[in-house]
Each structure stands twice: as structure tokens, then as C-alpha cells.
Symmetry: C2
Amino acid sequence: MLVLIKLCSILILLIGVQSNPDRRKNYSQLKSCDIGPLAEEIASYESVVKNIINYVVNGPFKGKTYDELSKFVDTFGARPSGSQILEDSIDYMIQLTKDEDINDIVTEELEVPHWMRGKEEITMIEPRIKNIDLLGLGQSVSTPSEGITAEVIVVNNFEELAEIPNEVVEGKIVLYDPIFTTYRETVVYRSQGAVRAAEKGAVASLVRSIAPFSINSPHTGSQNYNNNVKKIPTAAISIEDADLMRRLFNRGQKIILNITMTSTSETKTSRNTLIDLKGTLNPEKLVIVSGHIDSWDVGQGAMDDGGGLFVSWAVPVILKQLNMKPKRTIRSIFWTAEELGLIGAYAYEEKHRNESHNINFIMESDEGTFAPRGLAVGGSQKARCIIAEILKLFESINASTLVEEDSPGSDISVLIKTGIPGASLHNANEKYFWFHHTEGDTMNVESPEELDLCAAFWTAVAYIIADISADIPR
Amino acid sequence: MLVLIKLCSILILLIGVQSNPDRRKNYSQLKSCDIGPLAEEIASYESVVKNIINYVVNGPFKGKTYDELSKFVDTFGARPSGSQILEDSIDYMIQLTKDEDINDIVTEELEVPHWMRGKEEITMIEPRIKNIDLLGLGQSVSTPSEGITAEVIVVNNFEELAEIPNEVVEGKIVLYDPIFTTYRETVVYRSQGAVRAAEKGAVASLVRSIAPFSINSPHTGSQNYNNNVKKIPTAAISIEDADLMRRLFNRGQKIILNITMTSTSETKTSRNTLIDLKGTLNPEKLVIVSGHIDSWDVGQGAMDDGGGLFVSWAVPVILKQLNMKPKRTIRSIFWTAEELGLIGAYAYEEKHRNESHNINFIMESDEGTFAPRGLAVGGSQKARCIIAEILKLFESINASTLVEEDSPGSDISVLIKTGIPGASLHNANEKYFWFHHTEGDTMNVESPEELDLCAAFWTAVAYIIADISADIPR
């Protein structure tokens, strides 16, 4: 019977679904989203959703996600890729899970970069002496010990840089000063800035922090050198200091900086952590929930991605406590070394490539755990129609929105681009980039109530996807 | 005739005005605020207000306040009391004023403290190694060169501290962790924290930054030692680190810090700057507008109090450009050394005590120059009724609110407590304490449009008070 319903559903989907320009609202009300009898089946999970929300938001699990996250963050603080503290924090999470009597835990080793910043200082020498706060970008090389002293050229974008003759850029420091629009649009100046500046002969590159708001807070992040281009030191400065230099530059005042940066770079071993809540009917099929356990070396990694880590940890724990066993296996993954280039995700994809057809759906929370609003879903239209139907069950907590996204999440994008459908937690994260990759990524960004809502939502969504008769179609 | 109207007005005020519980709205509509024929006289300034607003907000002065402030801030940056850069910035403002063909400028010398922070570091040693960002508080003494290593006691308030036996506090570091309510309520833990902790035998004191929001931003500020109590090193830490230590402390975990701070303290000479636009009828009578030119040594002093400085500088400049000459003298004062204890204001009050009866009204902007909303007024009920009537003329820019305050402003409170009526700029400064005394006090807090509105409002209010037939009664 279940197989029949499943086949039916897929058939209907294959026939009925067409492309849909509406990216957000009432997704599942569209005619093109007629998923047949599966809609009724999904609706029958209403009481399951209520039970989970009650248990987590008002019941015995209330406050637990925040409390455990806060103990974890207070104990370890920042957990940079390749550090011993990251490995210790992985061991802690394994023990915390075992304490919940969940023992189906595997770790998978991989090589990860261990980049460590040392001394970092910028002094503006002209037109006046001023300390410039900075954070070196991931993998940045060191300057000579006496630093680099050079004049600054301020550009808004790559086009402006391209128009300046190479002989003008040579020997100078390029400051990219792009005004934040969206992260995806603006972050290219952080990730590609050093290479593009070095190609023109610059001796160092700086970037206005990729953020819409600041209290003189520099934001670090990854950047990609090109082995065919000279590696130059590269760092982020605050919005305020970028604006200062922009004003000085526009007034025709010569800006001279001394930049002194040191860093070391090694390779270390780390681990992805896989926790399975085995499926009753199709244990080989996987619904994955995930977050990354590593963080930048500044701040505490409470938001990025402590929150995502803990709501994903909570999924098997809550289901175990409620004695709820879905048909498919729910796997909770704690990715390692996300921040230096999704290293853990690439290793997982490679290692599990032969069984990737078994991944039914993959979820990640890595954009904040503020109040949940729904899911940002990548995959086929048919997949999105089923997810939209599931999201209808979360109207009571205002988390029914489906956002279409080609490449949701961070780590999981590695798997989604191979054709696996997946989703990222869509949440009220309007202030996410205020704190992202700064010293301000602390427990103060997190709220017990919002974490409860996220944990309940994440758990119920994963459970339903893992339990319904139909696979999520590719 | 003018004298008659004036006498009439005062008589009516003396008879008609009673106490008024309404602190904000429709102040001048109250029966107790019948100011007689003066109301009509004030209403006749409507076109004056329109002209000034037009000139500043849409006309030739548009953007000038922001542009000049930004050149000033970018040129000098922070201007701490006693520093050469503060004196240079005073010379710059004098020249900037002379460039506007205003030459009635006097400076008055006084002795000011010159406290300079040196190295400041806190390392949490237990329960784990963590750097704790800090800013030493004004006049803080140094630690021994090896620092102070001691256990932390976290208290919410003085009452909690009082309940702990002295022998428990002895040799420890006290951390005050008061949640921000209002600045006035909370700031006592910064200003009195060191003395109260030292009285109990503490070796250092820390305070949760006096702020409602943070991106791991410590906020410095003044504090008052007592010569009869041992001076111990004292600093502010971020809200985030205070919360971290509070959580560790509540869990019973021992917190050990090493605090290393150095500073120097000297006395230097600085100057108050007085710029007069002489009155046509009663030049001896003064309407004072003011802001302070010194700042903390962190950030750029753009908001505190660059904005107040420049809207007060703008008053004589705008009136001069418009060739408007009020009956009384308008004096623009740039106070020095406000941050270390209203030093400039105390010196002015002492020097001018014999002529203080000539101060008709005194205004200061030192709480932000966001969109103007009206005035916070100290003085008699009669004085407030007249000001409320004037504020009616600013409904078009939504700046008609009168807030009753016993001691408005910072510097001017020194004069207001001698009985002189005065007012502080009431503005949309809800985020003022996000940036106050931090590295984030930069031009990014300021807006050209809001500064235009403030400058226009400040100028028009001062002009009307300086020009109407009635003095502001005491």
C-alpha cells in the first residue's frame, strides 16, 4: 500500500509539476504543485508536528538547545580548523550524544588546513597617524617583518581597478570599498580581491568588511589565492575605516599605510561526525540534517555555526526522547573545516559518492538560528512542491515560507550540485551579517526561545521527510 | 512698547504658571502655560523659522555641517583632554570660523587633566585561555608590570557586593554586571565601581560596558576615585564577556584573570572657545549654544561630541550668512575637557560667575545629532512655557517636543544648577549608547540630512530666544 501511494505520488508529480515563478508565498497552493494523495498523507502529520513543537517549546526540552550550546561555547570558544580545541570539541559532542543514549556515531578523518593568524597591525602614517583595526583573511601570507609601507588606492569594484593602468597600481595597496548589497554579491571582493590586486602589481590588498553594519568591527573570512599569481597579504578593515580612507582618497589626500601581518599554515587531521537514528523501513535511505562545528578564530562561533550545530544535534536527541522512529535514517552531520573552504563536505561527498543515490534530502543550518521562517530549497520543482506541502504544517509558528534557491546552505551545496535535493534553514536573520566572522559572534546573538523554535522545526521537518511514503524526487 | 510687552509677559507668567505633570506633549497648550501676548509675538517668527530651515536644509548651507564635521574628524580623529591634537583642533575651529568672517572669538585657558592609556590586556586564565577586550576607565591607575592575577567575583549591583563579607572580596577582582536600563541609572557602576570595590578590599574592578547593544565593543568613560580609598585599576569589558563570566560564575566555575594596564597622568593647559554674534539691543545678554570639542581617545569623537560642536558652530555662521542679527548676543562655546569631568564648564562658571545674571538661556548638544525632536528643558515652569511656545514653530520638522529635565546637558548642567535656564538637544538618539565612548564613534554614525535638520533647528531656536522681547525667566 505504501509503495503504491509512493508510486502514485511520483507519477502525479512527474506529470503535474511545471516551472513556477513565485519564489516565496503560497507555493503549495499553486496548481502546478498538485502532489496528489501525498498532500493528504502529509497533512496527517499535523499532530506529529504539534507534539514535537510542544515538547521542545513548552515541554521537557524547553531551553535545552540554548543551555547546551552555551555550555559548549563557553567551554571551547572559537574552534578553528586544524586546532586541538576543535578536536576536543568534537569529542565533547560525541560524549554529549552518548549521554543521550545515542551510540550510532561514526567519525571520518580528513586532512584540513590549519591557518593561524599571528601579529596583525595596520598603522595609517599619512595623512595622520591612526591605528586601523583589521582581521587578516584566511590563508593570508605574512608581510616582511618590518611590514609593507605603501600608498593606498581605493576602488569600489573590479571594473574600477581594471581601468587603472598597471604602472599606477604597482607597489601600492588596493583597498576594495564595495557597499554591502547581499553577501553573495559583495563577498567576491573578499574572496578574489588579493588575486585581482596582485595581477595588477599591488603589494597588498584590503577589503571593506562584508557587512551592512559595524561598531568598528572587522569581519574575517576565506579568500582564494591562485597558484599562478603572486600571493600578497590580504585583510579586512572596518566599514568605518574604509569610509574614512574613501573620503581622504576622494579629497586627493595621499594615504600611506604600514601593514604588518604574520601567520602560519599547516595541514592537520580533523573529523566529520555522523550520528544516525536508523530508519525502520529503509535504513539505507538518508535524510541528513547538519551544521559545521569549526568556526573562525575570532568570536566564539556561537552563531556561525554553533546554533546550526546544536539544532542538528537536537534532531536525533529529541526523536530519541520522544521514541519516534521514522522509516528512513536520519543522519546528523557535524561538518569540519567549513570556514576554510567546505573541506569536510568535499571529503564526505568523495567518500560517499557511490551511495549518494541513498541521500533522500540534505539539510543544513548555517545562516543563523533566529526565529525560523521556513526553508530555502534547492532541487527540482517536484521536490519543492512536497517540501512546500510539509511547510504548511508550520503556520502556527510562522515558518511556512519556501524560498527557491539554486544552491542553499554552505557545506551541503557540495552535494546539492550533484543533484541531491536539499534545504537551508530560512530564518529571521536580518542581522546575521552584523556579527558574521567577527569578535561579536557570541552567545549574545542567540536566544533560548528562537533556538527552541528552530530545533522543533528542524526536527519535525526532518522526521516527516524521513517518514512519508514518497522519496523526495530529484 | 517692547518693554511693555516684555513686562506684561513676565507678569502673566508669574501669575499664571503652575506645576505641570505632563512631561512631553502639548506642553504649551496647557492652561497653566498662558504666556499672554508673548505667544503671538513668538508665532510671528514663523517665517524666520521657515527661512532658516530652507537655507540649511534645501539651500546654500545644505550638507555643509556634515562636510565640515567630516573634514574636521578626518583631520584630527580623537581629541583627548590635554593632548596637542585637541589644541590643534581648537586652532582649526578658530580659523574655520574666521574664514566665515566671524572674528569675535575669545579663548580662555584652564588647566586640564591629560590621562593617557598605555598597554591594556586582560587574559582569562581559568577556566580557559581567552583574550578579553577592555578599555581602561578615565584616570585608572596602572597595574604592576606583571599585571594582577586574581579570581573574579561577579555582582549585579552594589547591594550584592555589600552582602559579601570583606574577607571574600579581599584580593579579588570585582566585576559589576548591571544590565543597561538608562545611562543615568547604570553609569554609577562605571563611575563609582572602583571605589566601592576597593573599600571591600578588591585589587581591581571591571564593569560591564554601559550600553544596550554591542559587537564585542568595550565602552570607556570617566570614573571617580576617592582620595581616602586605595586607587585600584579599573576598566570596562564588553557586554558579551561580562555575560560569559556571569554564566561561568553562576555555574560555580572559578574565573581567574590577568589584568595588565598602564597609563600616565599629567596636567596640561587647554582652552574653552567663545564665539560671539553680538546682540543689537542687549549685547550684554547671552543666549549660549554649545558642544564640547574634546573626545575620548578611542573612536573619532564624531558623535561625542563632534556633531554638537558643529551644530553649535553653525549657529553664528548661518545667522551671519543670512545677515540676521538678534537683539541679544548669541555665544557659541566649544567646551574643553568635558570627558574627564566637565572641566571646561566648571572653569567657565567660575570665571564668569559675576556676570552669570546675563545668561538668558544656555543650550548644549551632547547626546547625539540624530533627527531633532525638540528640547529637554531645565528651569522654571515659566521658562518651559515660553520654550514650548517656540517649539510649536518646528512642527513641520517634527521637532516640537519639550521634555522636562532637571539637569539637561553635560557641561551646561554646571550652570543650570546655579539657576540659569537651559536646554539640551532632544533628538532621535535611541542608538546613541551603541557607539558612545567606543571605537565606533565615527562619521558613520552621522547623517548629512539629520545634521542639517539639527543645525537649522538649533539656529532658529537660539535666534528666537535671543530676539524675543521677553527674557527667559529664572
